[in-house]
């Protein structure tokens, strides 16, 4: 079967779900962050795939570049937050960061 748009979208969906699963289940904050990166990668695959198959200019690729930039910024800030969390709780397990609890 010829590989088309749907294949790429399905791959992105699977990657997205894996990232989501990591985000929802992992206790370790760094692993959660890795899940977020997977989700962003999935979104990027979508952008680039749409840019190739539907709207054949470079706009989608440019957006992908900006997503990567944003992801880098987010990773830097998030890791800083993780380190700060570790300072306070002596742990980076998210289930211990529950001061929002009712």
């Amino acid at each position: 079967m010829e590989v088309g748009l749907n294949h790429y979208l399905a791959l992105a969906a699977i990657l997205f779900s894996l990232g989501l699963f990591a985000v929802v289940t992992k206790k370790n904050a760094v692993t959660v962050l890795m899940g977020v990166e997977l989700i962003l990668n999935a979104a990027n695959i979508n952008f680039v795939a749409f840019a190739r198959f539907i709207d054949t200019d470079l706009d989608g690729q440019i957006i992908a570049v900006f997503v990567i930039v944003t992801a880098a910024a987010a990773a830097a800030v998030a890791l800083a937050i993780v380190l700060n969390l570790y300072e306070r709780l002596k742990s980076i397990n998210l289930d211990e960061a529950d001061s929002l609890a009712g």
Partner: protein, 660 residues
Amino acid sequence: MITNAILILLLPLAAFVVQISFGKRLPRKGDWLSTGAMFIALFMALSILVDAISTYESNKVLAAQTWEWFSFGSVHVTFGIVIDNLTAFMLFVVTLISALVHLYSIGYMHGDPRYSRYFAYLGLFSFSMLGLVLVDNFLGIYVFWELVGLSSYLLIGFWFEKDSASNAGKKAFITNRIGDVGMFAAIMILFSTFGTFDFDGVFAGVAAGGLSDGWLTAAGILLFFGAIGKSAQFPLHVWLPDAMEGPTPVSALIHAATMVAAGVYMVGRTFVLYSADALFFIAVIGTITAFMAATIAIVQKDIKRVLAYSTISQLGYMMVGLGTGGYTAGLMHLTTHAMFKALLFLGSGSVIHAVHSQEMDDMGGLRKKMPITFWTFLIATLALSGVPPLSGFFSKDAILASALEYGMRHSGQMWIFVIMLLSAGITAFYMFRLVYMTFFGEPADKKKYDHAHESPLTMTLPLMILAVFSIGTFSWGWFEHLISKPSLAAYGAVAAVAEHGGGHDDVAHTAHTIAMISSIVVALSGILLATTVYYWKKISAETWGSRLKPLYNLLWNKYYFDELYAATIISGTLWKSRFLAMFDLRVIDGVVNGVGRLTAGLSNVSGKVDLRVVDGLVNLVGRIVAYAGARLRTLQTGNVQSYLLMALFAVIILFVIQQF
């Protein structure tokens, strides 16, 4: 030119925004900023006016631009600016008087605790008034119409610590609203018929006969209702004298020169819309207003009230001018009147500033103390009385000629001219009464007289500038050439629509000659009578006043209009309220009390039940809630990940719902 016009419009708005936001923190509380903005606007308006005059073409549209404002369905509402000769004149008049009033207020309002707020309101008003004269459609004119009403309300009630001032503000606002309802209905009639708010679009529709005669007359009269309210015509004139509670420069700007003239401007702008019947209605209302207000002004003792009634009377003149087909005459009187009436108000403000009283009984002999105020005031008075060759003579004479011509062409309508002529005499009389009582004779109050002094230059300079404009800068010929009567034919009227009056035939010529001679005679006799009574004191005003006691009382109480409204509309409302209160007290309270007593008896019994059964139930419910709460609070884990999980679950549910 469009850029100029937009700048003229935006400068006062910018001044308003700056003043209201941080006017207090600016050096000198920002008065220089507002005043400077208005003067820049004035010079821009002047350049537009010079353009208009140098082009010298009748009713020339100098520039116009339209933007799409909003649209719903197939209806596109546009918002545009149109500058023709009329607009050029109005822009000049408004910016000139506004700039001079700004300058004057620096002296007059000096030391007021809300000094910067005052200038902010002036800016808001100037913006609204300029917008009113610039817009090219009914919706825009309605919006700015309400905005000038709002700023007028704010400025009348500027000293809201005084009950009389805040009440006057409310009265002005509510009275205007009554007229605006009519105006709104008229706009809706036009919009539902033609599907557009544009002047040109509506006029073209009328020219094509899109509206039957009856509806056209109704629309015209309803539109005029707005003018009745805003221009203080009979029977909604009652707010204007009370509006004198505002600061005097405000009275000059809003309640003499510009806003009250907005009604006249609006009628002029939409002139081709009015059917012959609607114009006759306008003329009749104008005549009644002019005569009534002039007679009331004879007996008033408050200097500003005399001027207020004079303003009402002169607005009546303008309406008569328009109503009898003297389009140019009415609008010219609007321009000239703006100059000399603003001058009169600013002059009276200067007097009030000096003696700290508005009662003419406290004044007298101020001629020597305040020479500049006196001479400029005298020029304006002569102009208002219609003495040639001052500006008021030309415009008033033109209105009288128009009324006379109307009477000559329509049998049985000569009374309009006769009453207007009589009112012209009365005008000369009461204005000279005012001058004699204020500036001549012996000082009535020695202490106040000694304290009085000429006002500072910021206040006298506007007086002198306006005095120059009150002298015959306007001569009939070129004004008529620039702003001549529009006709429906210009909008492509198919059938020959009956033109009302006008034309340069023998009738017009005769009317002009007669009107000119008679108006001079009447004005001079009015002045002579005033001089006899108040200067030579050959006739005693008191004797005649007591001899004609009932008439005097009638005038002193302003034809009992306020009392009439109090007795009918206001007391009607009060009576209804009182009836409802009574109903409340007797019937509803009775029922309530009965129920209460019954309840008290039952309560005794149920109290015991309460204690045992109900409390038990309530406690049970409480315990259930507490238990459920304890269980449910575990949902709020504080763990962001479980929140995310729930949100995702909701997404799936939404998808499922959307699928089926």
